[in-house]
């Protein structure tokens, strides 16, 4: 309890007053249509102060539209949306002082240096040039961009741009942060460094709403995950609860002789949670136990005289979540992200 209190104090005064009584993000019955397309069709979300809410869903599910409504960029058609204790429509101007937004595309001016970008944003938040400059220097150091501070941002790598974008969202130390697919298009190393940064921000007591297409990302960062599909929240829960609904890990065995698939399926049935499925030359199983499972599968298949071309154990993916929750794969969702 005491830790929580100090965390909030560190984030700044903006959150005080409302934080104790109200969650940092509270959305109920949010609807938004673009012409015929219902981008958001009655969405409910909630995030307690100091937690990470992950919005997980395929392209076009409505994640970006939700972020745009929550950051005052789009007006909702219906529903109540409160962020940091403020209504996104009625208190939009005031709310903008308390939120930070980092989008899917690094929203920085490529012709300005990293330093100039951050100073500009700081001044537009109403800081003096001196305090904006001090804050920029601080952020550049925090995001490992000090050496590149005086270079135009167009010389930055993808990961550096994303870090600069994230830094820009943090200039005013906002208590609530919106990150729209912060790692899409990044290489694994940059991705990891963005994850670490987000974890640090949360440790400072900030509330984060994060959208992602990646289950592992939501798994690592989010306290609560809301799975969103075709403008609706189809499941909400902790990452563990969600994975329980999806089932365990996936074991895939590719055979040298596709004709042996039925034998292989029969042989592996005892170690699978559900009856193994057969796809072309592959047999797929759901398994709860991880250690030793590959060895056991190989031993059983070898005893049955089934030739193995490849065998791999993988964690459930977004696709598996979708298959389990909706009966269709994530890629099937054809609704275009409209705005």
């Amino acid at each position: 309890m005491t830790t929580k209190a100090t965390d909030q104090a560190r984030v700044g005064s903006a959150e005080r007053g409302s934080a104790a009584s109200e969650p940092a993000i509270k959305v109920s019955g949010l609807k938004k249509s673009f012409g015929e397309i219902r981008a958001l069709d009655g969405v409910d979300l909630e995030a307690a102060t100091g937690t990470v809410l992950g919005l997980l869903g395929p392209n076009g599910a409505g994640k970006t539209t939700a972020v745009r409504v929550l950051t005052t960029l789009l007006r909702p058609d219906a529903g109540e949306v409160r962020v940091a204790g403020l209504d996104v429509v009625r208190d939009a101007a005031k709310l903008r002082e308390r939120i930070g937004l980092a989008g899917q595309y690094a929203a920085i001016d490529e012709n300005l240096t990293g330093q100039e970008n951050l100073v500009m944003v700081g001044r537009l938040y109403g800081m003096t040039r001196a305090s904006a400059t001090a804050r920029a220097t601080e952020l550049l150091a925090q995001f490992d961009l000090t050496d590149a501070a005086k270079r135009p941002a167009k010389t930055y790598s993808g990961g550096m741009r994303r870090r600069l974008d994230l830094a820009a969202a943090l200039v005013a130390k906002p208590p609530v942060l919106f990150l729209d697919e912060p790692t899409t298009g990044l290489d694994p190393r940059s991705r990891l460094s963005v994850w670490t940064t987000i974890e640090e921000l949360v440790a400072e007591g900030r509330t984060v709403l994060l959208t992602t297409q990646y289950l592992d990302e939501a798994d690592r960062l989010a306290d609560t995950i809301a799975v969103i599909d075709k403008g609706r929240v189809i499941a909400t829960g902790t990452p563990d609860a969600l994975k329980d609904r999806v089932g365990g890990e996936r074991l895939e065995v590719h055979l040298t002789e596709p004709a042996q698939a039925p034998i292989a399926a029969k042989t592996l049935a005892p170690i699978s949670d559900e009856p193994p499925s057969i796809e072309l030359d592959a047999v797929k199983l759901t398994v709860q136990r991880r250690s030793g499972i590959i060895i056991e599968a190989v031993r059983r298949l070898d005893e049955a005289g089934v030739g193995i071309d490849d065998i791999a154990l993988r964690r459930p993916t977004l696709n598996d979540v979708f298959l389990a929750l909706t009966g269709h794969a994530a890629e099937d969702s054809e609704l275009e992200e409209t705005a």
Partner: protein, 256 residues
């Protein structure tokens, strides 16, 4: 209100700084207009008969070509805003607690600075190739002020264009399609009397003709008629129509 002024200046500063980082843009303000003046004076000049009132074609052309040039000055705003829209910068600005009109007001204000540079470059070029003022320094300055005001008005037209079109390329071609005929079917390059009747009718009511005639009155002592007041009214009218339209569009702008 003070917030609007501060934020506008911050955005204007950003746009001027970025011009120094993209030298090719600087060429558009300097080398390109000089090239046009030289081409018109030395290629077409000999073939165009100007009214006796003017010493030569240079005296006739220079006010016209400066007006054309200033109308194109707003292109930077159309292209820049469109780029900002697609790169998500407009989203960022709209999520900040800044004055709603400041992004556009700062852009258009930066255009005034670059337009001033263009006007100075063109006037110097003109003076070198034999143009001379035939009026008081007050009138010369009034002419420059009128030019900058008209350029500012066109920046708002281009601001709206940049927010509406789908890509910088589209802004480019639409802008050219709109501005080229407007500037050519005017008194900017040839006397209106030399055109076919239908074009003459259009050229006479064309705001470009009115602004060019006003500038000729203020700089080389051509008869003014109502053109000076007419030009100011046109500029103010364009701003009064297009600035609110552009700001309204900005408030609803969707990045992606």
């Amino acid at each position: 209100m003070s917030r609007l002024v501060t934020d506008t200046l911050i955005v204007a500063e950003r746009n001027l700084v970025r011009i120094t980082r993209a030298p090719d843009l600087l060429l558009a303000f300097t080398v390109q207009p000089i090239m046009f003046v030289l081409l018109f004076v030395y290629v077409f000049g000999g073939a165009i008969v100007v009214p006796d009132l003017y010493e030569d074609y240079t005296a006739f052309l220079l006010p016209g070509i400066i007006v054309q040039n200033i109308a194109f000055g707003g292109f930077v705003t159309a292209l820049g805003l469109n780029e900002d829209l697609h790169k998500g910068l407009i989203d960022r600005f709209r999520s900040l607690p800044m004055a709603r009109a400041a992004v556009l007001a700062g852009r258009t204000l930066a255009d005034v600075a670059t337009n001033t540079l263009s006007v100075v470059v063109l006037l110097l070029t003109g003076l070198i190739i034999g143009f001379s003022f035939d009026s008081s320094s007050l009138e010369i300055l009034a002419g420059i002020a009128l030019l900058l005001l008209f350029g500012y008005a066109f920046s708002w037209v281009f601001a709206l264009l940049g927010l509406i079109v789908s890509s910088p390329e589209a802004a480019n071609s639409l802008g050219f399609i709109a501005v080229f005929p407007l500037t050519f079917i005017s008194s900017a390059f040839v006397p209106v009397e030399s055109m076919p009747a239908a074009l003459q009718w259009f050229a006479e009511i064309n705001p470009f003709t009115i602004v060019v005639n006003a500038l000729r009155a203020l700089w080389v002592g051509a008869p003014a008629g109502n053109s000076v007041w007419g030009a100011f009214v046109w500029a103010v009218l364009l701003i009064a129509i297009f600035a609110p339209l552009a700001v309204a569009k900005y408030r609803r702008a969707a990045g992606h």
